[in-house]
Symmetry: C2
């Protein structure tokens, strides 16, 4: 295994990405041979394929959190912790895609679809779909277990490990609870904007932004004041991240987001966008939304009708305004934060990456 | 949280079970309120229900492994580690039941069926089944995460944790790989007896017996010689455990096993029993087995035909002989093992529990 290194600019986005990806590649390489029962296709290879093309937002935040509170010296341990977050995220996405029965992820067929196709030659028709789902669930489980292994082989001191475990544990539980809330809400459209923001906070704001920052900061031995300062930046930014995601799910292009702009609408996802639209809709619009959202056969023409209603009710504009408001709050929090200047600059860049993105 | 205690006889089976169950109850109690987003049903309550009625074979082995190599003093940490293994097992079973679409577990509807029924009132028909599957997958994920939390709050010293992690990590990966092998083999009947024994080793022998013993022994600081001695006992016993399971899946009663004796046959599970029968079958028997095994509508009369073939081909008797042979090897390994006498007595009892059981 090669020792991970960073360019002199610790927080150069591309350098961190490259370093994290090298950790992941090396780790999965060690898994490609052993422990090897004969038979299954290369599980580590499937995972490596799945991992390619991610934005690495959580690892970036983790390394930046470490640096922000004064982390210095060998970045090896924090990079391995950061890479573990990416593997954990792979677990969450793999299971998410199964639960939503999503067809496409990062411009490629989702894992359960890929594995179903692999099994098509040797299985009876009724077993094909199940084999895909089962394989993707198992591969997700494996990604979760391996994310743990990365953490435990990260070279942390016992004190560092003890500091990392509480926020990590909280992060992992929160994302599960967020998923449960999401699941509960699926199939029943809601105009309860606050409820969608609650799911947003559990599913994304803490999971994607706050906890990765805290985990990196914990590696550097951050105290409560530094963690609070990170939260003041992280929570509004995390909400903005999810709101941008909601918009991209409806208005994005397949080329940039890697998934069809019909998927979220067909799934009938309850987002802040849909809740705002339902709340502001007149009777005709309300009926149209309830007919079209969640229709698994919704076509591009019908999607255009939904988008028009999102525009006409002002829902889209409101979400854009909410994103901007939250981004400003996040940036404002940095003005008084006790972070290193290079980290503040990096956090500003990440705020942009998270909210102004097109993918 | 109450401090776990054991009766003066450290290895009394019922006392260990009770102590482990108290740890699990206390842990899930701490989860029943927080971290609490509003909404979902009591996830910890669902898990507590699911956990009730288990044999606790892995926790028993874990505590016995600790004691065998000289573990003394406060049993609190090893009991929490042992309870973590039971939560991990809950994760494995929850996902297993989803993958096999099993209807019944421990005499009750499986979790995905239970959750589907809970959702029936508010969901459209096509969403009901999916909601059950998704909920059970998530609850399994949560059980896995919480098993980790139990480990990390077990009160282990850094040295103990460092010793526990490698066998734990290996155990968790192995059971996944065993599941993949199982999955690969599903839907295509095999007469390859060796292949079924390989899956058996990965899926059960190490997972159920060897690794729990090693994990307990690691808490007590066992060296390589002690671990090897445990393996010599554990691996044959673990194979025997799975072979008994295979027989109980076909010849057991619903009252004692908690599941229908038709499930395994309907699923077309490849077991050593089926492989032996296929290998020894004449042309007529072979055709009958291939017609009936894996038929999701197989009835009791057809099951009786399959059982007759298992008997007539000598497959059942061979499996019984294999169990006895392996049990003897496990017991024989104890004759020269450097374990405490009370642990040797407990390991003899556990060998009986694992191989002569009816549930």
């Amino acid at each position: 295994m090669t020792t991970p290194t960073l360019s002199p600019d610790f927080l150069d986005t591309d350098a961190v990405r490259t370093a994290v990806e090298r950790v992941l590649d090396d780790f999965l390489d060690t898994k490609s041979g052993s422990p090897a029962p004969p038979g299954p296709p290369s599980l580590s290879g499937l995972l490596a394929d799945f991992l390619s093309g991610g934005k690495r937002i959580r690892p970036l935040l983790c390394v930046t959190g470490w640096r922000a509170v004064g982390g210095t010296g060998d970045p090896g341990p924090v990079l391995r912790v950061a890479a573990g977050l990416e593997l954990f995220h792979a677990f969450a996405l793999l299971h998410d895609d199964v639960m939503d029965d999503s067809p496409v992820r990062r411009g490629r067929p989702t894992m359960h679809r890929t594995l179903a196709a692999l099994g098509a030659a040797r299985l009876t028709p009724e077993r094909i779909e199940r084999a895909g789902v089962n394989g993707a669930v198992l591969l997700g489980d494996l990604a979760l277990l391996w994310s743990d292994e990365l953490l435990h082989t990260a070279g942390l001191t016992p004190a560092q490990l003890a500091a990392v475990l509480p926020p990590l544990s909280a992060m992992r539980t929160e994302v599960m609870l967020g998923q449960f809330l999401d699941l509960e809400a699926t199939g029943v459209l809601t105009d309860d904007v606050e409820a969608t923001l609650t799911v947003n906070r559990y599913k994304t704001a803490t999971y994607t932004v706050e906890r990765p920052l805290h985990i990196g900061a914990a590696v550097a031995g951050a105290g409560p004041a530094a963690l609070d300062a990170l939260s003041r930046y992280a929570l509004p930014l995390g909400e903005a991240f999810q709101l941008r995601d909601d918009l991209l799910g409806v208005y994005g292009t397949a080329e940039s987001t890697g998934k069809s702009p019909l998927d979220d609408l067909r799934a009938g996802k309850n987002t802040t966008l849909t809740a705002l639209a339902l709340r502001a809709a007149d009777r005709v619009q309300d009926a149209q939304l309830r007919e079209l959202l969640g229709d698994p056969l919704l076509d591009e023409k019908q999607a255009a009708i939904v988008r028009e209603i999102f525009d006409a009710t002002g829902a889209r504009e409101t979400v854009e305004r909410m994103i901007e408001d939250r981004r400003q709050r996040a940036l404002h929090a940095l003005d008084t934060a006790p972070f290193t200047p290079d980290a503040v600059a990096a956090l500003r860049r990440l705020a942009r990456l998270a909210t102004v993105r097109t993918s």
